[in-house]
Assembly symmetry: C2
Homo-oligomer: 326 residues x 2
């Protein structure tokens, strides 16, 4: 397998990206990593060639898409950016998968424009495996499609089922639809119409609408929502966990300084067990390739994990299964 990685994308690029690639070498056997970005920088960070020359090659890309650039415009204008050149490798059959922790919108746009969507798929969606305390929940879409039609949401359910069955090994994953009330009649027009599509397809073990209040109790294996709402859920949950843990720690320090040292390891352990970086990136489902989106703040561990999970995912022939199921 040849996995291409955007060496320049992400808050901690290129250092942590290169470090993650190097850390993965121990596990990837005969697979190849293609690091795309500024060649001199990458080579200097890779260091001693004898360590990596059998598994890594570098493809030069002189431009970078900034984290805050307008996605479609950046992809159109910066033909020589690491994202553009990396996706072109996939189009040309020189990479089996592409990974980026950079500008998500630009990466999604490049994959969608250059790799095209799969036959039958209307719009690609980003699936995140969300580590709740009750187990992993697959949430789709979290930002690829912020103005979806009901049919898009319905297809996200079918594509997510393929992913969860193959990659997470759950044979009959249940599906819920995020709304602001459990009854079928609750929600905006898109949600109500999507509810009907999901309810009418007997192949889907549909649990109905799910309220965000129950999200962390894992009300279904898969939760479907529009990309705006999914992104809000993702970011709010992340910010809130951080904020709550910090606040509790501060309160303890102020009022019970003697037990802070007992509390911290518990939280650290909770964090570690539910760390997004273990889940190794979010697949963009529905495009004609294997595209893995990493968190912007990915560290070396997250990148290593993304590389290893991508390698596993390539074995499942997901796109073939998605096409068959739609």
């Amino acid at each position: 397998m040849r996995i291409a990685i955007d060496a320049m994308g992400g808050d901690n690029a290129p250092q942590e990206i290169i470090a993650g690639a190097l850390e993965s070498l121990e596990y990837i056997e005969n697979d190849q990593l293609v690091l795309v970005g500024d060649e001199p920088t990458i080579l200097s960070l890779l260091g001693d060639e004898s360590r990596w020359k059998h598994n890594i090659c570098v493809v030069h890309a002189p431009e970078i898409v900034g984290m805050d650039e307008s996605p479609v415009e950046a992809i159109r204008r910066k033909r020589n950016s690491s994202i553009s050149i990396m996706v072109k490798l996939a189009v040309d059959g020189q990479a089996d998968a592409v990974i980026s922790a950079g500008n998500t919108g630009a990466f999604v746009a490049a994959c969608q424009m250059r790799l095209r969507v799969l036959t039958g798929v209307q719009r690609p969606g980003i699936l995140v495996v969300f580590p709740t305390f009750a187990g992993p929940v697959a949430l789709c879409d979290v930002g690829a499609n912020i103005a979806p039609k009901p049919l898009h949401l319905y297809q996200y359910a079918l594509m997510s089922m393929v992913y969860v069955r193959a990659v997470l090994g759950q044979s009959h994953p249940s599906v819920g639809l995020i709304s602001i009330g459990q009854e079928d009649a609750k929600g905006n027009e898109v949600v109500k119409a999507a509810n009907k599509l999901l309810r009418d397809d007997k192949r889907i073990p549909f649990v109905g609408n799910v309220e965000p209040r129950d999200f962390l109790s894992r009300p279904a294996d898969i939760l479907i929502c529009d990309g705006f709402v999914g992104n809000v859920i993702l970011k709010l949950t992340e910010g809130m966990a951080e904020n709550l843990f910090k606040t509790i720690a501060r309160e303890l320090e102020e009022h019970k300084p003697d037990i802070v040292d007992h509390f911290k390891p518990i939280v650290d352990d909770l964090y570690a067990r539910h760390d997004y970086s273990e889940y190794g990136g979010a697949p963009l489902l529905g495009v004609g390739g294997t595209c893995i989106i990493c968190h912007g703040s990915s560290n070396a561990r997250a990148i290593k994990s993304a590389i290893l999970r991508t390698r596993d995912q390539l074995k499942f022939d997901l796109n073939q299964k998605i096409t068959e199921n739609l």
Copy 2:
């Protein structure tokens, strides 16, 4: 002042509603409470008449709108429900304010249909004062309007500013717009157009788009969003706080049972200081009356708090100020 209360609305009605009304008597001096609902039930729960006869009167309503009924249909069909009869009291000038912890959609629909919107207001919105650890944040809308136009969001900002200035006493409240990226160009079409309206009105101290990740750090005094997203934020935050605290407590019990007893009071205190029930209900801004929506799970303390805050709010002549500002 005459404040009407839906005695039958809410998960803990009528017991906790009546108990809250009785608890408020100590503070309301010469104001009158009108309890609307099943008269025999209310009278039996009120108990000894000498305690309340100077401040409470009961108006009989034989029907109840269930928590899960379809709002508009329930209001049209159940003319004798506690919500309908209560709102009619306001229309007829027999109540200065109405309070319900019942079916939010039905209450909003009744207020909007019977009390009408204020001159210049396009759509009413629900404002919730959200107790973050960094201080209160006013979030509007949290569910009255799940398919808003950009102009509606813009008007929510103006109405929220009036409320926050008058009721929370912040002289120059700043405004943020919830989106999935800080740049003005991030978000769906409604958010992008609302961003422009807010940016162009020099009366509004607009901080721009705010990401949900920063919500609990209180990035602005007022945050504006569509009702679907606002409701997701409200419910997710609530469910998550509960879930996280429970998980930490469970982990402590398992691994550090000796410090659980030290941890619990800290969390209880945090909860108490950031308890929604202290904030006493959410105003429905923009209708021709004073309508206060309480949490469905309100207990007596929340109802008491809502009654007292409603009484305070009536002094500010908010609707006059809203009309002047739009």
